[in-house]
């Protein structure tokens, strides 16, 4: 089922949005560093979960990968081929291989088109099949995602949030893509419906050997669906690893803080653990902190090191491919707020 062939490789991806001032000359006065150096590899049939708080650049990263935004720097390889600078015509066959599912099932479906048209549009764009064949394919897709073929002539407003998300998924599946980028696909849904969509995505992955980039801010959801996870903070990947590496043995203090901030749906467990609560808010990406971006909020901040030296994303922990960018990674997990602050700062040691 899942092979180990590499499907997607991203190297040093950067996306800066210019900030302009002035009416006529529009001087460029700075840039928002939405994505600032992200690397990862994704194998066919795998799911890469991307977590981070709002403004960390996870959506921008996804849009760059899908070439909906032109990256400022870096390279994107799809099936070994550099697609970073392909023009529209050259991108066309590749667009058939990667599709997106968006967060808001209300805004991502055209309210004036019928479901049949919405789901069939990718087929039309890529000129696949005759009209009759397309119709049959769309009805088949509707069934695959748990709707009924009779829904073909309905409008999006006749459906609930969960059903709309199914329509969005059917559309993404229409032309048998290899990669589906899901940008917060379940955040807008009720818990019971969220479970339906997560199960559907898993079933489809098995059936069609799909590869997912799955973006979410809910760690439990990411943990449930991903094989590997990337944690982003202010445009950078701070930790990457398999699900087990990352959730059982986090190395970056930010990952630790994220894990401990998630409310646990078990009263006794929730009361007994001690949380790491971060101070302050995520700084503005317009003017991000020097060196380690996390240092102003980090419980392990060491002056003279963390605010001077930018830590590289290095192999940490016992398993290969578990990378983190921190000068003073966590020694064990779980840790309480006090323990995390009481580390012995060895300036310059783990470089």
């Amino acid at each position: 089922m899942s092979s180990t062939s590499e499907l997607l490789r991203v190297e040093g991806l950067e996306k800066y949005f210019p900030v302009r001032r002035g009416l006529i000359f529009q001087r460029e006065v700075g840039s928002v560093k939405a994505v600032d150096g992200v690397d990862f590899v994704l194998n066919a049939g795998e799911t890469l979960g991307v977590v981070g708080e709002s403004g960390c650049g996870k959506s921008t990263m996804a849009r760059c990968v899908a070439r909906l935004l032109q990256p400022t720097a870096g390279k994107i390889f799809f099936e070994g081929r550099d697609i970073t600078h392909l023009d529209r015509t050259a991108m066309r066959p590749i667009r058939r291989e990667m599709m997106m599912v968006f967060q808001d099932p209300y805004a991502s479906l055209n309210p004036r088109k019928r479901v049949g048209f919405i789901v069939g549009e990718p087929l039309e764009v890529h000129r696949i099949g005759t009209n009759a064949e397309r119709k049959r394919r769309v009805q088949e897709l509707l069934e695959i995602v748990g709707l009924s073929p009779e829904h073909y002539n309905r409008f999006p407003h006749e459906f609930s949030g969960g059903q709309r998300q199914r329509i969005g998924i059917a559309r993404a599946l229409a032309i048998n893509p290899k990669l589906i980028i899901c940008d917060e696909p379940v955040s807008a849904l009720d818990v019971s419906v969220q479970a339906q969509i997560l199960n559907l995505l898993k079933d489809l992955q098995e059936e069609f050997n799909l590869t997912y980039v799955f973006i979410a801010h809910d760690l439990n959801v990411v943990r449930h669906i991903s094989d590997r996870v990337m944690v982003m903070y202010l445009g950078r990947a701070v930790e990457v690893g398999t699900r087990n590496d990352l959730f059982r043995e986090p190395k970056h203090p930010y990952t630790g803080a994220l894990l401990s901030a998630v409310p646990i749906a078990e009263p006794a467990l929730g009361r007994s653990r001690r949380q790491i609560v971060l101070e302050g808010d995520v700084p503005s990406p317009l003017n991000p902190p020097e060196a380690c971006r996390f240092h102003p909020r980090c419980p392990r901040f060491v002056p003279g090191k963390c605010d001077v030296d930018s830590p590289a994303l290095l192999q940490m922990g016992s398993n290969e491919g578990h990378l983190a960018s921190c000068h003073f990674p966590l020694e064990r997990w779980p840790m309480s707020d006090d323990e995390i602050r009481q580390h012995a700062p060895m300036v310059g040691a783990p470089d």
Binding site: Q196, N199, N220, R223, V262, G270, Q275
Partner: protein, 342 residues
């Protein structure tokens, strides 16, 4: 005397498409210093319940019955003038979206002072002092300067702190928080929840926490109400509810959570969608989605009955005790074995 006592509350809206029974048969009592968690999906009636409690549903469009006692005083049927005195003073409310609940063209200070001036007979200078004081209390740095900022100059978490400050500035006895952290990131959510916990201890407030997040409820609440289709379907102490839920919807909710230690396994899903209140199912509101549905569920609404598990544990279900015990034990064993396997 409980700080807030609600008996048999029902709210029905008149709409062009007919009567909508948004809420019916809600009863609970909440003591000083305690937290009540209210869980439910969209359309379960959880927000309408507390809008009714606050007297914020328009009597021209809605029919309200039952009783809402705030410190022993009946709120339903109280005059608008009296309600205005109570709201913001004895009972405070925090809404989900801090951006749309703050006025974008007035400073934070102006809005906080307004809340003080309405309820207290003080000068604007004193009101400003109180505003700065309360901002300090909700941990806004440099509060004497930030008091002159506008809402857009604050981040989402800071705005929610301002909302909390505004709700607390007159020292209310009851605080109703409607999805206060839903729009926030996890680390900010943790900050806000911790802040609310601390303020509750200091002021001995009673808090109602309306949320869809069972995690938030498990961490904060003393008692929990589960709502579905405008009805209370289960009500218990938080430990009893999570340890021994009594009816299929609560089982489904707990099973559909992506669990901590059960990665990759299939989630238990509740099929179908939450019901439309315009055209509610006959009998038990959950029957169209219930895996254990019987004929009686399609015709008769089960009474809220008492469970033997836990002291004040109530639920609605037609299933007999033995079947429920057996089913929950099987489900619970499955969940525990998932945890153990991981």
């Amino acid at each position: 005397m409980p700080a807030l006592e609600v008996k048999d509350l029902a709210t029905t809206f008149h709409t062009d498409d007919g009567l909508v029974k948004a809420v019916s048969g809600v009863s609970f009592s909440l003591d000083q210093g305690k937290t009540l968690g209210v869980v439910g999906e969209s359309g379960s009636g959880k927000s309408v319940t507390f809008l009714t409690v606050m007297g914020l549903v328009d009597p021209r469009h809605a029919q309200v019955s039952g009783s809402v006692l705030l410190n022993g005083e009946e709120m339903l049927g109280a005059s608008q003038a009296r309600l205005r005195q109570i709201r913001g003073a004895t009972i405070g409310m925090i809404f989900q979206d801090p951006m749309t609940s703050l006025n974008p063209v007035k400073t934070i200070g102006w809005q906080l002072e307004e809340a003080v001036l309405i309820h207290q007979d003080v000068t604007r200078k004193e009101a400003r002092r109180q505003a700065i004081e309360i901002l300090k209390e909700v941990e806004i740095p440099r509060s004497d300067q930030r008091v002159d900022d506008y809402p857009h100059q604050f981040s989402g978490g800071m705005r929610q702190r301002v909302m909390i400050a505004m709700a607390l500035i007159n020292n209310p006895e009851v605080l109703i928080a409607d999805e206060p952290t839903t729009a926030l990131d996890v680390t900010t959510q943790a900050q806000i929840l911790r802040l609310m916990g601390r303020l509750q201890q200091e002021h001995q407030m009673a808090i109602v926490m309306v949320t869809h997040d069972l995690g938030v409820v498990a961490e904060l609440a003393n008692d929990v109400i589960v709502m579905y289709g405008g009805k209370v379907v289960e009500q218990a102490n938080v430990d009893d509810l999570f340890a021994r839920p009594e009816m299929p919807y609560t089982w489904g909710l707990l099973g559909s959570l992506p669990r901590l230690n059960a990665e990759g396994s299939r989630l238990e899903q509740i099929p179908g969608q939450p019901p439309s209140l315009l055209n509610p199912p006959r009998g038990c509101p959950f029957n169209p989605r219930c895996a254990f549905v019987m004929d009686v569920c399609r015709t008769d609404l089960p009474e809220l009955r008492r469970s033997d598990n836990g002291e004040e544990h109530y639920f609605r279900c037609h299933l007999d005790d033995e079947t429920r015990t057996r089913t929950w034990e099987a489900k619970h064993a499955a969940l525990v074995s998932k945890d153990a396997a991981a």
